[in-house]
Symmetry: C2
Subunit: 232 residues, 2 copies
Amino acid sequence: MRYSAVLFDAYGTLFDVHSVAALAEQLAPGRGAELSALWRQKQIEYTQLRTLGGRYKPFWEVTRDALDYANARLNLNLDATQRERLMNQYACLAAFPDVKPTLKQLRDTGLTVGILSNGTPQMLDIAIKSAGIAALLDHVLSVDAVRAYKTSPAAYQLGTHTLGRPPREILFVSSNGWDAAGAGWFGYSTFWCNRGGHPRENLDIAPTAEGRSLADLTEFLAGQRAGKRQIH
Amino acid sequence: MRYSAVLFDAYGTLFDVHSVAALAEQLAPGRGAELSALWRQKQIEYTQLRTLGGRYKPFWEVTRDALDYANARLNLNLDATQRERLMNQYACLAAFPDVKPTLKQLRDTGLTVGILSNGTPQMLDIAIKSAGIAALLDHVLSVDAVRAYKTSPAAYQLGTHTLGRPPREILFVSSNGWDAAGAGWFGYSTFWCNRGGHPRENLDIAPTAEGRSLADLTEFLAGQRAGKRQIH
């Protein structure tokens, strides 16, 4: 199968949340990893609970709710200023070093390239501009448009609606195993960019392909093109 | 408000998962708490992801999928026999000591009493029989009937459909903060049995009442009855 478009998840896939962990460690010495892990876990949990219960709230606010919970649950007593610093850090995440060259390469091969993210349009706009990748993206899609988070089909459908192509022809790339599974359930071809080296989620669906970085994605797509040339 | 019925969540609320943690510690010395926490987290996450994605799978199987993931993620190398022992332990959870006296007392005051759980009918049947509380329950409702997990409205609706009463007149009791929030979103009156002493979830809804044990629930309901007598 030769794909006509590649859609990327944003947080953890294109944008590196590690800088948040570093600041968390600075603000809560010895507890930074714990704080950033629980913050992320609650952030995702809240998006899922809210979508299930029909209680959408934008990702920026959910992110703040999750931070406040993690702070309380871990008894860290971070004050409002410190929590604001963490939120600001989240707003200005750096892109992984493999992002810009990969996007450039994909565009050079004629692929349509976009983002499909839980983040709000404002959050994505800041992150994309500060990473200097705005000109490399054909589409930036936020689930805010449908007020439903992944793994809701309504969220994934944004991609097929916008691109006007069947999901199997689109390669959905995520570093989050659950997101790759949800996209696969919807019908996308999927590439799991397993940056963390984690085991596969037990959700009865395997990604179409997987690798450890976006360099592996480029290689996978090059292999697809080569295969296509050989067959025809 | 005088309630006409009380619906209980099962796992963590009526049935104590602590015995699982003890066996986990025996099988993976020094890692038992970590294993049982990640197992539980993935179990709930998988129910939510599957419901969002329209991929229902019974709770027993989801529980096994979550255990297998936790085992792999934590590099514990528990073999099939050891994992089977943990699953069997989960099948035979003990009830908390406050369960039987509370259910008896609620029934004595004329309340309709039931369970509304993510567990399969078979799982619930075993746990209820081994706790000796079958005769104290008017209804045992499993979300398996609607193939949607909490916090989906379809799951909570099982209770109002079965009882034929508006949700506000039913007190939904859960030890899981997210479950109390979901039930509240649906419209139930809620009692958060905060056995773990955790902070409230940041989901923009407070429980109707909360306490640390089912004894606090009995007290709350007695207060409601006394209030009612005073007003009329």
